[in-house]
Symmetry: C2
Subunit: 345 residues, 2 copies
């Protein structure tokens, strides 16, 4: 089992990290990654650019650029936008398999971590670990958690189905605890983060109680000033309840992304999903709808295109700077943990 | 808003409650219900008989008899088996609508609470509340939580999709926090319990962090000595991981229960679900399979019939007395909460 080294980057980065917020919560994650807050921002494809990742890292968490399907130019631009903050990058694993050179590009930027999800991380682990970069593997089942640990993951993110974007079926509550049991028994040096349905200090505190070392947060940071989505999308998230999301393939079909069938995309229910969810075969043949959807996406039409978000939408009521989101989350969690002695009779 | 009165039953019951375990965790739930531990055992149809409910109540929680679809003779037998312990009873709401006299039967036994789930509790609320019995409404969405509060629920149970038995789509993690926000803003005297994926002290502690006053536990108590299911079923639960459950209608179809489409039943994947999930129309017409399933159920054939369980199966590795399960859960949660100050930097 490889331990993440104390030094992830250049001297500039070390100087930047000295500006970070005073730690409030201390966990194995903050110690291992030398960060102040046990929170990682999810590498949301398209939405988590360099500005968001940098803001999260600068505020004391670990920010990840969402490399998604892997566009080299976009990735380079976003690393540039991160402005030498110690960020990491995520990439969709099955997509990386189609374009493995992208991993070279990412590693050349000396990322603080590489985050792989949705596919077999095995073929890429050695290259990442030999570059002395932390390997974060997101998993949706216990079975995949075991595999991630077998191939050398430093950090496992156990993602429940309430998460936004792509996911599977298991809920966060029991998945995290079950993976924690496995890690405790079989690989105690591996760290664990909870993901799915976590948008504030309550979810962070609950994650720690379940046995995680921290959490991964997506939806809440989508509704941040820095996220690269249309303002209408952020406003729709702030207005939504958690009841009005669904997992569906229609967004991937209309935007012509060929995902493995086991992963569905959680989005807000809207006119687009009302029309097409359950009519996937028909949608595949409808090129006009593809154009409508792309136009809607570009224009911020939250009914004609898609709002990719988790059930945590119901916990989000504002659009705010990422640093404020992170600081509020950690302070709230610390307050809950400090007060937990009041439950003791 | 009606407050639950201090006295739920006869003098005998008061004497029995004095035998209870010393409180370890104190919440609004323990105070309001005058119980020692903030844990309610789920009224699992067929499985949660009087012995299980009584064991949970005697150990300091609140035990609920699973009235299920409503068989008067079974209910009377189970109240008798509860041996004057202060238990409550649950019943499937849409089923009660077909046979409302059962509520009279339950209220005649002076239950500590009546638990309604899966349907509109509105038509039954006045009768329960006017009998000065605590009304517990289990909900699967924020929308239904609002309705439960509107019709006078004393306690709302927010049940995530990882739960065993019937459920819906939302995950526990965000649903609980979102309902907690609504209660804090609109009905602060209403109590909240988390359900779904909770099988040990970690889930209980996490529930409190999410803003709940306690939790409802089903799967863990199914694998108790007292549960009224075949020993093979309990052993199958203890052996399973959380990865091998699914929500499906095939069990309801084969046992000829006509459930509203929004609710699916979470069961272990087995030969029965492998054969029939996705072939529901064919199953409806297959009377031989009905007979096979019933025979398998009676004989404890966990492949030919169904094991009704949640994703928390992955957190369960033993069959134990209900009192031990409850005491371990509460002591573990108390320990986690006491140690949570160690996270504070």
């Amino acid at each position: 089992m490889k331990h993440v080294s104390a030094c992830f980057g250049c001297e500039d980065r070390k100087m930047n990290t000295s500006e970070k917020k005073k730690p409030v919560l201390k966990t194995r994650l903050t110690q291992r990654l030398e960060i102040s807050h046990p929170v990682i921002s999810a590498p949301m494809a398209f939405a988590a650019g360099g500005a968001l990742a940098a803001a999260v890292s600068q505020a004391g968490g670990l920010g990840l650029i969402g490399g998604g399907y892997g566009d080299a130019e976009w990735l380079e631009n976003q690393f540039r936008a991160a402005n030498n903050q110690p960020v990491g990058a995520g990439i969709i694993t099955w997509s990386l398999s189609n374009n493995p050179d992208l991993l070279d590009l990412i590693l050349q930027r000396a990322p603080k971590a590489v985050f792989l999800s949705f596919g077999d991380p095995g073929p890429f682990a050695a290259q990442i670990l030999s570059a002395d970069v932390a390997l974060i593997c997101q998993v949706q089942t216990l079975r995949d958690a075991k595999h991630a640990i077998d191939i050398g993951a430093d950090i496992v993110v156990a993602q429940g189905a309430e998460a936004g974007g792509h996911g599977e079926k298991r809920g966060t509550m029991s998945l995290v605890a079950e993976v924690a049991d496995y890690i405790a028994k079989s690989a105690p040096d591996v760290l664990l983060c909870a993901a799915g349905g976590i948008a504030d200090g309550r979810g962070l505190a609950a994650s720690l109680m379940l046995g995680a070392d921290g959490c991964l947060v997506g939806s809440r940071f989508l509704a941040s000033n820095e996220a690269l989505v249309h303002q209408n999308v952020k406003n729709a998230v702030a207005a939504a309840t958690g009841d009005i999301t669904l997992q569906s393939s229609v967004t991937d079909i209309v935007r012509q992304k060929v995902w493995p069938d086991r992963y569905k995309l959680r989005v807000l229910k809207n006119q687009f999903t009302d029309r097409w969810h359950g009519h996937e075969a028909e949608l595949r043949k409808n090129t006009a709808e593809h154009e409508n959807w792309v136009k809607g996406w570009e224009q911020g039409d939250t009914e004609a295109s898609s709002v990719v978000i988790g059930e945590a939408a119901g916990l989000i009521s504002s659009v705010a700077p990422a640093a404020d989101i992170l600081n509020d989350m950690v302070e709230h969690a610390a307050d809950l943990l400090a007060k937990s002695r009041l439950y003791l009779a």
